[in-house]
Assembly symmetry: C2
Homo-oligomer: 358 residues x 2
Amino acid sequence: MPHRPSLEDVARIAGVSTATVSRVLNAPARVRPETRERVERAVERLGYTPHFGGRALASNRTDTVGAVIPTMENAIFARGLQALQEDLADAGVTLLVATSNYDKAQEARQIQTLLARGVDGLVLVGEARDDAVYAYLAGRAAPFVLVWTWRADCSWPCVGFDNFAAARDVAERVLGFGHRRIAMIAGVTRDNDRARSRVQGVRAALADRGLALEAPFLIEADYRIEAGSAAAQRLLADTGRPTAIICGNDVLGAGAMVGARAAGYRVPQDVSITGFDDIDIAQLLDPALSTVHVPHRRMGRMAAKLLLALRDPQGTVTSVCIETEFIERGSLGVSPPSAPEGGLGDDGSRQSDPHGPL
Amino acid sequence: MPHRPSLEDVARIAGVSTATVSRVLNAPARVRPETRERVERAVERLGYTPHFGGRALASNRTDTVGAVIPTMENAIFARGLQALQEDLADAGVTLLVATSNYDKAQEARQIQTLLARGVDGLVLVGEARDDAVYAYLAGRAAPFVLVWTWRADCSWPCVGFDNFAAARDVAERVLGFGHRRIAMIAGVTRDNDRARSRVQGVRAALADRGLALEAPFLIEADYRIEAGSAAAQRLLADTGRPTAIICGNDVLGAGAMVGARAAGYRVPQDVSITGFDDIDIAQLLDPALSTVHVPHRRMGRMAAKLLLALRDPQGTVTSVCIETEFIERGSLGVSPPSAPEGGLGDDGSRQSDPHGPL
DNA sequence: GTGAAAGCGCTAACAG
DNA sequence: CTGTTAGCGCTTTCAC
């Protein structure tokens, strides 16, 4: 049962004190080259790796940051994290990932766990969380940056995009194609400021035209293809169905396309559909999904930059707004002529039968 | 600047020794209820959380396991990890995730990093790695389980499936549809036993019919839609093109469908395509992608079980073989009549022009 | 440039 | 059931 080599073992073999070994590891410049090399050989020979706990205890620093994301089963978070991790690794910092499953309490617990593990900083998704959590963060003097969200007057450092503006833009594009009966399949807005902002953005655009976005035309669905499909089928089953469905994200958009097809409607001839995020599947769908491109990788990189800046002095950092871009693809077309123009959602037009399967 | 509360602070406030506080935290049953409650109140009041480093140092245990996966940007790993994490969390164990980017050296480095952090165990993907790595693992007495792979005579505990058998099954299905000019777009086989086994499985099935799987009909592509698309276009540009393309995974399968469409071929009338993994996009494609369903979540759960069993005593565990299932969908059809039946790859048949876009 | 020594916060014998 | 007391492996003054 071989014993894990310790600093002391290295010191003994190299014929120096543990302090010197520690210096070789942490400030090589402060050690005479010959000594240094002797130590390095000993390290090599023993296959020594510093004990993380010991180091954390003595230095009160872990070179570790934590990220809490809703779920890994979601390409958009994965991609951003990957970039974040790469940049942190370049700076010698390890990333710890935890998931909250879109649950506020679980997120709070994960934050606590990560902090208990001594992470030097945190990356958190969105800004919707209890004041108590922010107070806890402040009490622990834990630096953090919010991602996936950006507001001009956000109280905390964040790097993200303006979900409200982007969603409003989508709705305006859809309006530009002549649609007036517009529905939305939103993500779950509870504890989720991104989903909420997107709803509000769409609503604002519609309001500008005197249109409403309310109950039967506004459905919340969780982040699954099937949920999007079911929601779309519900929307389209109604008489007075929408001619366009704006989806809170691409997964719901993909689901909506499946649902529309299952209900016998053609996209975009019978109904237009848009998504949000521009993940891979958006391009694979037929027709391809019109969506909002979010540069997840760049967001990850910027988050890394802010976080690294944040941990050193008490240097203040400024939030970063990432630009998004609407990508027009085949799933968005002009409003079908049979649909009433300019009417509100309740003008009584009926089409009891869909066009039927293609 | 508030000082992070320590065990001693709690002990002082509760009027007990640090040992008692420690017991309350680690073995509450061994403390008299009244004392326990006093301590718990102090913990509460101070918002105390144990210092991870201190604990790791003293107990030589971290209640943490690490997983090294190729990349997070891949739904199949994400899903398995999610399940793994959930089950570990139930046992009070935290999961640390690191990525290797499909690079052997980087994987070795990540293993070392995780071990340095004191993880109690490791989850590793596949079994292809240098002996030195296995030796290192053994030297550190680090328990680990391999996932995503299974062989009857694998030397290490693993929970996965038989990539060879599953791939052979795919090829036999394809043969069953009358195809004889069969090509494969494989994942990168270097340092990847899963990709390699899949190639060998397909090759074995073809060999049984006296067919070969070689150079122009065997292309390796990295894990991206575009790579799959490019590979498919190359395959289909050739005269004497394949009537079926077996892909090493669904991403390549999706790419192949895009490529085939771009080249003006219809799926499955002109060319059949299969994937492997059964990720979401398989069902979203039109036609849907025939593929091998891999129960990733179950694999994650089982890995958690083995790992938890492995860390307690020196209890031996037995590897687990997860069943996979071929899912037949629209992308696999009968071989077009124009294609030569039963001939080898080089029988000289030519079709200079594809059918052209639909 | 290097060594001696004092902790960092916690757990685990061992006493009592 | 509770307290005393060594460390765990490392960093970091402070001397030399």
